[in-house]
Subunit: 216 residues, 2 copies
């Protein structure tokens, strides 16, 4: 460990691979490499930061900046979102209600495996239904699943319409569009609520980092 | 980095979290955190070590010891196997041919995401069909997918029969059992071939570590 003499913060940490010159025939202790061992190695508390909110609410923007901040702190993170999941693992799924549930189930399972692997997972999905988010939460141990509600009003999301999806949906070219002809069930007791229409992305990210520091 | 003066091996590695006292208002560079950034952070080359072989060939034993060795070197690893996948992500799948293909496809996709996250993944699956292993390989970039054939003869696997599955299958209680009434298509050009019936687990693991060092 390297400690800054002025601030007493840890500025660096390393691991000595071997401290003694061991004989070659000594057996290694058969310790299981489990979640705790991986978390210790990474100096972090693995968790799943689940960002839910309407299309265009700012989930991806927040997740991206959050990942940069965490990475700069030496944390090991991974973003799971529609882009790397819908084209790969879940490319066999469409947008029927059943497929949307299965989409969230698999994403939550992958998040769980990644948290088990010691990572901080940033899962960014509209995930409009409470039951599905509850199903996801239940796959994790207490405190591992952090529901972050990116609470941007529908009007603001539609005004931005970065991907032009709201316009498409209003023209009737997209069915079951969340917020228009399909419900978004807002979280009743999210772990973190972000008002991305009023606060800057920086401020939103700072709020999440504060939460993580308090619950580390 | 800490270097052993006698052997010139790296015995420890750490990261300085900040080298200069920066002003608080300097903007962070908006670099994307990609596979390369994560791999650099972890000081390792992410890859998927895919262990294929008959039931009872020694895949899990080898994967477990391999993970311990890699973890001791400070590497960030994760084992994917039937235990953590069949009961979770793939619990909707059975053992029909189509379900077995889908099982391997999803496992390979999760491995790909984990390699993207910077991890060394140890995927331990019978994966009896060449086409499925090829499908898995094609999801990765050149050199990321390492096919490890745990080449233990059927007679030896059946003699061990640690889980009693061969006896069950012989009694007709298990259908489509690989090696008996379902084919195992041995890899023609595996990246690594392990003769786990003749060599010790230690020796098999050493062979894989040597391969990784040469291809790091």
């Amino acid at each position: 460990m390297l400690i800054d003499k002025l601030t007493h913060s840890t500025v660096g940490a390393g691991m000595i691979d071997f401290a003694l010159r061991r004989a070659q025939n000594i057996h290694w202790q058969m310790l299981e490499i489990d979640k705790q061992a991986r978390a210790r190695q990474k100096h972090q508390k693995p968790c799943c930061l689940w960002l839910t909110g309407l299309s265009g609410s700012g989930k991806s923007t927040i997740a991206n900046l959050l990942e940069k901040r965490l990475h700069a702190e030496g944390k090991h993170t991974y973003i799971l979102d529609g882009d790397n999941v819908r084209h790969g693992m879940n490319r066999d799924l469409g947008f029927t209600e059943q497929d949307r549930i299965e989409n969230i189930r698999r994403v939550a399972e992958v998040s769980r495996l990644m948290v088990d692997a010691g990572l901080i997972v940033l899962a960014s999905f509209i995930s409009p239904f409470r039951a599905d988010r509850q199903m996801a939460r239940e796959m994790f141990e207490e405190g591992e699943f952090v529901e972050i509600f990116v609470d941007t009003p529908l009007q603001e999301c539609e005004r931005r319409d970065v991907k032009g999806l709201y316009a498409k949906a209003r023209r009737g070219e997209l069915q079951n569009f969340t917020g228009l002809d399909s419900d978004y069930e807002a979280p009743l007791t999210p772990d973190i609520q972000l008002f991305a229409a009023q606060e800057s992305v920086e401020a939103c990210v700072a709020k999440v980092l504060l939460y993580l520091n308090r619950n580390a």
